[in-house]
């Protein structure tokens, strides 16, 4: 016959066990924070776009599709993931006369776009300064439809904003376009671009 020794169940964790648990929880929280930070950094990561001929340098979101081959703009960056409209940032340059004003440039943009964009309409216009230079901001909207007629796409209401600043016989136009419902959400991208764009 053998002896049975009963070990009483511990009433509470001992010191080591308790701190092990605390450390594990803290580590998990730290790693979660690290992961989220990495995600945020990745999402807001930028790359430098530079066009020495046009005299434009800017930070554009990393991973966006960059088109710098058009005569119409210096560059255009589009978010490939965005649904249903591809969020767009653009910098373009227009040659203007010595008496031109940002207001006149916006008028010209309106005249160019009205026959090209369906239901194009200017919504508002404001004065502002960009790098201490007088600038003009215009908000507008239009409906965009798929240019491929063989696809059954529903038109999208797009809201856009232009900031125009003049320099040495040229007007630099910085543009942001987004689907109406996401316009405010992603406006920060545009403000980041305005904050980093260098015109030289």
């Amino acid at each position: 016959m053998s002896d049975v020794v009963e070990i009483p169940a511990p009433v509470s964790l001992n010191f080591t066990q308790r701190w092990n648990t605390y450390l594990a929880l803290m580590l998990a929280a730290a790693v979660l924070f690290l992961g989220l930070t990495m995600r945020r950094n990745t999402l807001s990561a930028t790359q430098t776009f530079e066009d020495l001929e046009a005299g434009v340098r800017a930070q554009v979101p990393l991973g966006w599709l960059i088109d710098a081959k058009s005569d119409e703009y210096v560059f255009r960056a589009e978010d490939p993931d965005a649904l249903p409209f591809k969020t767009m940032l653009q910098v373009s340059v227009m040659t203007v006369g010595p008496d031109a004003t940002p207001n006149l440039v916006l008028d010209l943009l309106n005249m160019q776009r009205a026959p090209r964009f369906s239901t194009y309409r200017e919504i508002a216009r404001f004065d502002e300064r960009l790098r201490d230079a007088p600038a003009k901001r215009m908000i507008y909207a239009y409906t965009q439809d798929e240019r491929n007629p063989f696809q059954a796409s529903v038109p999208i209401v797009v809201q856009g904003v232009d900031v125009v600043v003049l320099r040495r016989g040229q007007a630099v136009i910085i543009t942001y376009r987004e689907e109406r419902s996401d316009f405010e959400k992603n406006l920060g991208r545009f403000e980041d671009l305005l904050a980093t764009v260098e015109i030289f």
């Binding site: 790693v31 992961g35 591809k86």
Partner: protein
């Protein structure tokens, strides 16, 4: 308790992995590895016709509607078919389908396209006429806007299109496919298959002026396309335009055009033709299409393009038959009977007071049975006001019988003539093959053609056969249609040989004709032109050619040169001329890198001798770099050919886009729900880049497409093919917010790849 600890630690580890996963996988700019999962693998399409890509051809076929506004409402006046011949919206169709007329009042051209193959076309664009030939009933249109009035952004149209094939290679009994709309837009685009049943000859267009087919082609398909097995456009199905007072097969009331609240016989109807049996060969459209593609048009000339006003009723006269037409378009003989087994027969006739665009027709009966294959269905006139014309058929046997040919103008019978085919070879006396020339110092006839210098001793040479002594023969010389000399003689030569006869009298500039009769029956005839001064044994009519890029009121003001810098907007050629009679038919041609872009035949309308006649080319922007050649032809003899280089002197390699390639299409869906993901982006990289090489630079992208409301995407640009030995490998990426990105390398496109390549992709949520 220990188990609780283990579970807790496992959860923490999972949280760690999850956090890292979130950070890595949602990185918008991090290229992902290729995932060749089952959903990303290209799925094989059902086997289509390998050579003839019907889907692309059907999508390239459009409905052209002539419309006008009445009381603010659009009214459809006429409809027809057309074919896209460039990605940026050039459309080849019949001129009568696009040009307004008495029956087709119109102020706007609306283009409806086939969005879904099994449904009627959808009005989408407006178009304008760029080039047209009323006589040949061909026109090129350009899509210039959306139906809502918006302009089209340059470079944004990427429409499916077809290439023009070589209609000269079309063979008898070859299978062709005709595409067009069989109704007013109520039915989807239709394909009709048939075979080539023959060719019809017509003056100025040669033995293959028309391709004939026995396929049943509704009149509304006029202006569409006929394709060979390789899917190349080889002809335009053409029916005569509807005309007021003409023979309308049908005219349908579609709308209340007079606003009386009812759509009845008091409203304007849309005319419908009968059935099409003739195709205009694509070679006759090539110049129009190329000129439109290059943005070139005929510019200012010394005299504006003119339609000579008619002074009387149009007439056809002096009908006769020949079995041979020489290279100058002159009948080799005149026959009254054709032996069994003949394979060519042409009906010649003179015409006057005709206008390009009039409708004429040749009806033929054999032993009183109508035989449309020997005739010409109602078609537009292209010969100008006055001259000599022919219709015929070569290369196919003509059966024995009594043939009766009847010519019609605007539905009214104008002239007729009969001929018998049958019996053995003719043995009766005959003349043939008249040519004209000058005698050299040795008495040889030289400079033989149909254009001769003024003031020379003209000789006529002809062949004779089966002649017997004392046979009565006669000749008649005409000048500008008036008889000037006639004589009747007894034959004093051999049975067969070559005869040279001098022409009496002085020859002034103008058009001449010689008729030879045997026993009072016309046996041979030929026309010739006297123009220019003698230069050796030839005529020198045009001289001192000068190219320039500027002129003011007929005087060259720019630099005169043969080598111009790039990007000039206009090009003129000036020249002097002498001794050419007003009314003499002359042809001027513009060629670009050897291809004829414009060819105009018309009567000479300036004084007989003068300086600084000029013709021009112009562009809406700038003339492309190329070698521009200007030619003048009279009586099928080239009188002058001069060239000037612009820029590099040759067209850019990519001047004419290829319609060869593979269509890529498919659907992007949510892997869980199977629903399409609207707005998802499908990117195809240029073949030289893999996913790993992709730096999100647009220059690396061949094309991209957004998924539509059902998740379907369609790459507008065709993927160029590689070869079997060196296939092209494409990489694709699929992106959508909230889903894990997908990419794949190594999609093979070579000569064996069937179009379309369908790629269905299911994305997993992240």
């Amino acid at each position: 308790m220990r188990r609780r600890q283990l579970v807790l630690h496992a959860l923490l580890a999972l949280a760690l992995l999850s956090a890292l996963s979130v950070g890595l996988l949602s990185g918008g700019g991090v290229p992902v590895a290729a995932q060749d999962g089952p959903d990303a693998t290209p799925t094989l399409p059902p086997p289509p016709l390998v050579e003839l890509n019907e889907e692309i051809i059907k999508r390239a076929t459009v409905l052209v509607m002539q419309t006008y506004q009445t009381r603010g409402q659009p009214v459809i006046a006429c409809t027809g078919s057309g074919t896209l011949v460039s990605a940026d919206g050039l459309i080849l169709t019949n001129a009568h389908v696009a040009l307004p007329s008495e029956m087709c009042r119109a102020d706007q051209l609306v283009i409806a396209i086939t969005v879904r193959l099994d449904e009627p076309p959808v009005p989408t664009y407006t178009a304008e006429i760029v080039n047209f030939s009323k006589g040949r009933d061909l026109a090129v249109l350009r899509i210039n806007g959306y139906l809502d009035g918006r302009a089209i952004e340059p470079g944004t149209l990427q429409l499916p299109f077809v290439e023009l094939g070589d209609s000269a290679t079309v063979q008898l009994d070859e299978t062709i496919t005709v595409m067009g709309y069989p109704d007013f837009g109520n039915a989807p685009v239709a394909a009709t298959r048939g075979t080539v049943s023959g060719f019809t000859a017509e003056a100025r267009a040669g033995d293959r002026a028309w391709i004939r087919t026995a396929a049943t082609i509704p009149g509304t398909m006029s202006g569409g396309g006929a394709y060979n097995r390789a899917g190349k456009l080889i002809g335009v199905p053409t029916i005569a335009p509807a005309r007021a007072g003409g023979e309308l097969v049908d005219c349908r009331v579609l709308q209340d055009t007079n606003g009386d609240g009812r759509a009845d016989e008091n409203d304007r109807c849309v005319p419908v033709g009968g059935f099409i049996s003739a195709l205009r060969p694509s070679r006759l459209a090539r110049g129009l299409v190329r000129a439109a593609t290059l943005g070139i048009r005929q510019g200012e000339d010394l005299t504006p393009p003119h339609a000579v006003p008619t002074e009387g009723a149009p007439i056809f006269s002096r009908l006769f038959f020949t079995t041979r037409v020489n290279e100058a378009g002159v009948p080799a003989n005149v026959i009254g009977r054709v032996p069994t087994g003949t394979t060519s027969l042409y009906l010649f006739f003179d015409y006057d007071n005709m206008v390009d665009g009039m409708v004429y027709e040749l009806r033929v009966t054999v032993d009183d049975v109508p035989r449309p294959e020997y005739g010409l269905p109602p078609t537009t006139w292209s010969g100008g006001k006055r001259g000599t014309w022919y219709i015929g058929r070569a290369g196919l046997p003509w059966e024995n019988g009594v043939y009766h040919f009847r010519l019609f103008i605007e539905g009214r019978e104008a002239a007729g003539r009969s001929i018998v085919i049958g019996g053995g070879p003719p043995t009766e006396p005959q003349f043939s093959d008249i040519v004209f020339g000058l005698l050299d110092e040795n008495g040889n006839l030289v400079g033989t053609n149909y254009v001769l210098p003024e003031g020379s001793a003209i000789q006529a040479r002809f062949n004779y056969l089966y002649m017997t002594p004392e046979t009565t023969w006669s000749y008649i010389w005409y000048f500008e249609g008036q008889e000037v000399l006639r004589d009747t003689l007894a034959w004093a030569g051999d049975e067969q040989g070559v005869w040279v006869m001098p022409a009496g009298g002085d020859f002034y500039p103008g058009q001449y004709r010689l008729e030879l009769y045997i026993e009072g029956t016309l046996s041979a005839t030929a026309d010739f032109v006297i123009a220019g001064g003698a230069e050796g044994y030839s005529s020198a009519i045009f001289s001192d050619f000068r190219f320039t890029d500027e002129q003011i009121e007929g005087v060259p003001t720019g630099a005169v040169r043969n080598d111009f810098p790039s990007e000039i907007p206009r090009l003129y050629v000036f020249f002097n001329w002498r001794l050419i009679a007003p009314g003499t038919l002359w042809t001027r041609r513009w060629l670009v890198d050897g291809d004829v872009l414009f060819e105009v035949t018309e009567p000479w309308d300036a004084e007989s001798t003068g300086e600084n006649y000029f013709v021009g080319l112009q562009s809406l922007q700038t003339l492309p770099d190329a070698t521009y050649t200007f030619e003048i032809v009279i009586a099928n003899v080239t009188q002058a050919s001069v060239s000037a280089k612009v820029g590099l002197g040759q067209l850019p390699v990519e001047a004419f886009a290829s319609a060869e390639g593979v269509l890529m299409t498919g659907r992007i869906t949510d892997a869980e729900t199977g629903q399409g993901i609207p707005g998802a982006l499908f990117i195809v990289l240029q073949a030289e880049y893999s996913v790993e090489d992709f730096l999100w630079d647009r220059a690396q992208v061949l094309d991209a497409s957004l998924a539509d409301s059902q998740g379907y995407f369609r790459i507008a640009r065709l993927l160029p093919r590689g070869t079997r030995e060196e296939p092209l490998l494409y990489s694709v990426l699929v992106r959508a917010e909230g889903y894990l990105p997908l990419s794949a390398d190594g999609i093979v496109v070579d000569t064996d790849t069937r179009s379309p390549v369908v790629i269905n992709v299911a994305l997993s949520r992240n």
